[in-house]
Amino acid sequence: MWKEALRIFGIGFPGVFLTLALLCLSVYALSALVRLWEKK
């Protein structure tokens, strides 16, 4: 059971961080593109 629990933690917690970090980068990129487009 503990092996399974560690697998869930080992994938889940870094997975949450990774997903939100990618979202963070996506939002930065999106904002930059929109502002660039709006300037034109």
Binding site: M1, W2, E4, A5, R7, I8, F9, I11, G12, F13, G15, V16, F17, L18, T19, L20, A21, L22, L23, C24, L25, S26, V27, Y28, L30, S31, V34, R35, W37, E38
Partner: protein, 373 residues
């Protein structure tokens, strides 16, 4: 005559009433009291409290599977069919302004860090003898997000639904009491005085594209979170598009109110004496509190960690808002910041991690469901 009276009495609930039912009535009445007198999450605690009372009236069959009782129908089609939590998220999306998050996207990381308590509580539950699916359902309480807790528990451990849902909503209403001591303990007066620069204005185009981008990225990475995430972002698109005001208003008001009634009744209906009066229920409440404390700590400590690398420091008090509980947790950050320096205005800065916490909890739930199912 005596035989007739005896037969009639046997058919009434009176002779079937047991102490355990009366204890559950007391619990139900306590929730009704807290909702009316103390204003603790009244929209949910009131229907939950009454449903607890009703479902523990003997022989009513309200939660019988065959023939289907009224409350069982609400529970089965509302929660087991996964209809109500996604509709709640549609309304939440229509109510949420992601502007502060778009203006300062790095606060998304605080929403991830504040899921720390979820995993602490997950391991705590395992140590206390719960199974992995049960531990996931208990851990997610630390996300401070009622509908996500309900959604995860229905998937993984439906027999714990009453305890996890009540625990999540109770602690959400107690955020102003639970969080401040943890926040003060982990920050210095100097850190609490950090003043953050005003957020930049966010354009309408950014706000319209945001829900589409978030749906794309999050659902590609964590497909199990899609039912809630898709509805959350659809509601937000209703709001930000500006062209479907009627739909946005309906999602925020009429629909939200209707599904809240069904949510409250369905959760309360699962709290029959046989299911709820167990030591496990008390353990769930204890672990829920542990989850809240560690989630708060995770957010604050990660904000301090980010400050090691940031030129423009962030006030670590906004880290605690990553536990969701929108907007209560953000208000707590604002209050403590203003206590340290009356010129400090943290509310809008804290709204970023606050809504990021909702997304973070959805992701944590998605991982739990896909890995533990």
């Amino acid at each position: 005559m005596e035989g007739f009276l005896g037969a009639v009495l046997l058919k009434t609930g009176v002779l079937n009433l047991q102490v355990k039912h009366v204890i559950m009535w007391a619990i139900g009445f306590t929730f009704i009291y807290l909702a009316i007198k103390k204003d603790y999450e009244p929209l949910l605690l009131l229907p939950i409290g009454f449903a607890i009372f009703a479902v523990n009236l003997p022989l009513t069959g309200l939660m019988e599977k065959e023939p289907k009782g009224l409350l069982y129908i609400f529970y089965h089609y509302g929660l087991e069919w996964e209809v109500v939590p996604p509709l709640i998220f549609l309304g939440l999306g229509a109510m949420t302004d992601f502007g502060p998050l778009i203006a300062n996207p790095k606060t998304l990381l605080l929403g991830a860090a504040a899921q720390f308590g979820v995993y602490i509580s997950f391991f705590g539950a395992l140590l206390l003898g719960f199974t992995i699916p049960e531990a996931c359902s208990i851990g997610i309480i630390g996300g401070a997000d009622g509908p996500t807790t309900i959604y995860t528990t229905v998937h993984l451990a439906p027999h714990l639904l009453g305890a996890t849902a009540i625990s999540a909503y109770s602690y959400m209403s107690l955020v102003p009491i639970i969080q401040p001591p943890v926040m003060k303990l982990l920050t210095t007066q100097k850190e609490r005085k950090i003043i953050m620069r005003q957020l930049r204005p966010v354009s309408r185009t950014e706000k319209i594209l945001f829900p589409i981008a978030v749906t794309l990225v999050s659902c590609l990475l964590v497909p199990a979170a899609a039912p809630l995430m898709v509805m959350f972002m659809l509601g937000n698109l209703f709001r930000e598009s500006g062209v479907v005001k009627r739909l946005s208003d309906a999602a925020q008001n009429e629909l939200m109110n209707i599904v809240t009634i069904f949510l409250g009744i369905s959760v309360g209906a699962t709290m029959s004496a046989d299911r709820f009066l167990r030591p496990q229920s008390l353990m769930v409440f204890g672990l829920g509190l542990v989850a809240f404390i560690f989630s708060t700590a995770g957010g604050v400590l990660f904000a301090k960690f980010m400050n090691l690398f940031l030129k423009e420091k962030i006030n670590p008090l906004i880290g605690s808002a990553g536990v969701s509980a929108v907007p209560m947790a953000a208000r707590v950050s604002q209050k403590l910041g203003a206590e340290a320096d009356p010129k400090n205005f943290l509310l809008m800065h804290a709204m970023g991690p606050n809504v990021a916490g909702v997304i973070g909890t959805l992701m944590a739930a998605g991982f739990f469901i896909s890995l533990a199912h």
